[in-house]
Subunit: 228 residues, 4 copies
């Protein structure tokens, strides 16, 4: 599950990220690759409506007809783009992943040059912002945990991106640590940060901000214990 390797090349970071971003490759789960603007617009419309309904009612409680109606797309057209209901969820997952990837690509240069502490702080801020802008990210995927193997991969892959990026940074700045340490530290950081930031979303504004700050404190002190 964890790619264990000693890397010393900063650019690998983005290469690793590219692995699952699939820039330009054909989207899996799509019945037909929409080439025309109209189609792409429809697909996005479907995904937007699906996202909202999945968040509001859950994946199971949302019907394909409701999505079609909400997206003002005939049900038949919906099924021209997606072979079945699950494919909509997968496409949504992929869209999240791509957006996530884009977020971090934009910061790649900035992040690459940072020492680990500010690196992690920045990552927390960016992740927080991403969650705030994409409230469905975790919400949707929690429901189908354990029932859709293909989706698990995507979800896992998104985290794996971050984990590998951190592993990379750790191995560069702290080569004296064991590669297994790198993996463990990165895993703990990413998962703890992800969870806390996600949970913070449903808290009231003041407490929410406090939680973001606490997340940084948690992460930095943990790192310090290894690196200090």
């Amino acid at each position: 599950m964890f790619v264990k390797q000693n890397v010393s090349n900063t650019h690998l970071c983005l290469e690793v990220i590219d692995i699952m971003a699939g820039s330009g490759s054909k989207t899996p789960g799509m019945r037909r690759q929409p080439r025309q603007a109209r189609s792409q617009e429809r697909v996005n419309q479907i995904l937007d409506v699906a996202e909202e309904l999945f968040i509001r009612q859950g994946y199971t409680a949302t019907t394909t007809n409701a999505i079609a109606v909400g997206a003002k797309v005939p049900i038949g057209s919906l099924y021209q783009f997606f072979p079945d209901k699950a494919a909509i969820l997968q496409a949504l997952a992929l869209r999240y992943t791509e957006q996530f990837h884009q977020c971090f690509t934009e910061l790649a240069t900035e992040l690459a040059s940072l020492p680990l502490a500010p690196y992690v702080e920045r990552m927390i801020e960016v992740t927080d912002q991403f969650f705030r802008e994409h409230p469905g990210y975790h919400a949707i995927f929690m429901e189908v945990q354990g029932t859709m193997p293909e989706l698990e991969q995507l979800d896992e892959a998104a985290d794996a991106q971050l984990i590998q990026a951190i592993v990379l940074s750790l191995s560069q700045h702290y080569p004296e640590l064991d590669p297994q340490d790198h993996q463990a530290i990165a895993f703990v950081l990413v998962k703890a940060i992800g969870t806390l930031l996600w949970l913070s979303l449903s808290q009231e504004a003041t407490f929410q901000q406090r939680l973001v700050a606490e997340t940084k404190r948690l992460a930095l002190n943990y790192l310090q214990s290894y690196l200090g």
Copy 2:
């Protein structure tokens, strides 16, 4: 959501816990309080089968008839104990909560006398053990996140137990901190610990043990930053 109060009485801890353990009160979601041994046995049988099926196939994919068949209980009888399918999930949640409560009640005396660091360490160990023995705990509830308000309460309540227990301990040992600090610290600790331990369950044995150790390190260093 969070009971904010300065308490100095150890027993309050259990009182808080009692709030949702419902010892003696009429179980909510139950159509009929099974007084006879046979009935109680059937209810447990139903919950056992439901737990297994929910874990294996998910809540939605599991039919009430399948539960009835698995529990060797007529479907009509099942509906005499539970008003609807959701009530089974809620009863399951309640059972988890009770089991969780029982776990910590047994350790109440031991924990109450400990300083915070060993307290948290012990809590991590006990939680880890509980998860290991009740693999359905998180797995089941993730699916219905955001779609079953009543359940959210129960799920939240389980964590709230721990959070309040920690708040209590914090307020006793570190009264110089703001009550809001107590809440934030306890929240972060409980959620981060809960997530990491749960995620550790699906990792291979070596990495799993490492994650438990890392969870302790994460929690203790975070606490140290406040208390050191």
Copy 3:
């Protein structure tokens, strides 16, 4: 496909017939064995309506809802008795087979003692009557030729009954012929008779009667060429 054996025991005839009549065995394709009179009545009602609709509109053009409505049975109930649409057709086939079997069982004693020529004549008359009383027999099964393996067996089995009965009679009265001759003759007789009698059904009354007579003539002259 053809059981090749030299038999000299008259009773075997009925044994062979019994092979696929399945007297008392559990009906395959049935989701639930209806034990109560009400259920059996409903199943028959469903089959009656299905038979009529299949004949009138064809198997594919007939919807399960139409059957349910026609039989005044809720669609849900229909699916308690039959796992899917195909199972209705199979049950219908089985009912035909059983009725067919019953027809010939009633005549078993009479037929067994007859010389071959009157035997065949009588068989033609009985078959003609059966087709007249069960106009769906062939009509329905023609449509699904080659698309429902399970059904093919039943259809084939019904003919196989007759074929084996004739093979038996041939082997008794004309042991000087090769067993392969028995098979070929019986096959030709049964298939030719079956087809002609079935086709006669859609002809006008006068021509229809003529065709039954011609069928006898065809069969008897064919037999005579071997046995004369």
Copy 4:
């Protein structure tokens, strides 16, 4: 349904056959008469693919889109040649009929001069060969028995060709028989022969050859009973 007339002119045979061969007349069921080579080629391509799919999956289970894809013809173009799905089946039936007609036209002279017995024997051989070369002939039409009136005519017409040809021969060689006898005899011969030869196709090689021989024996002995 049966043209009852005493004819003594050999050429009438072909005239009768011409009735439904439609040489030169506008093909029914065709939306547009393809005049250009490209169009005719496409129509044939469509029919070839449809034939294969109808045989393999049945008429109902075959989608028009699948035919279009298989024939490498845009679905829109397909609907320019055929008004609906049924028209494809009808055109296929017509093509069979034409091919059948061609088979017998080639043998017309040879057959016309033959006495009845060799005539019938030759007809069996030719029919057997035709079936062998066009395995879809019966297979396809069985499925839609009773659900497509237009098709029934075409299917019937093919047999009617043979029947009328035999009626003709009978009336020439055995004018002492009643015209009704001619019709009945011809009907029985054609239908029995057609069925047995078709059934022989699905038998193993040895038994198949035997069945062709038996078919001749059946037909000839039947004729002999009238003509001997």
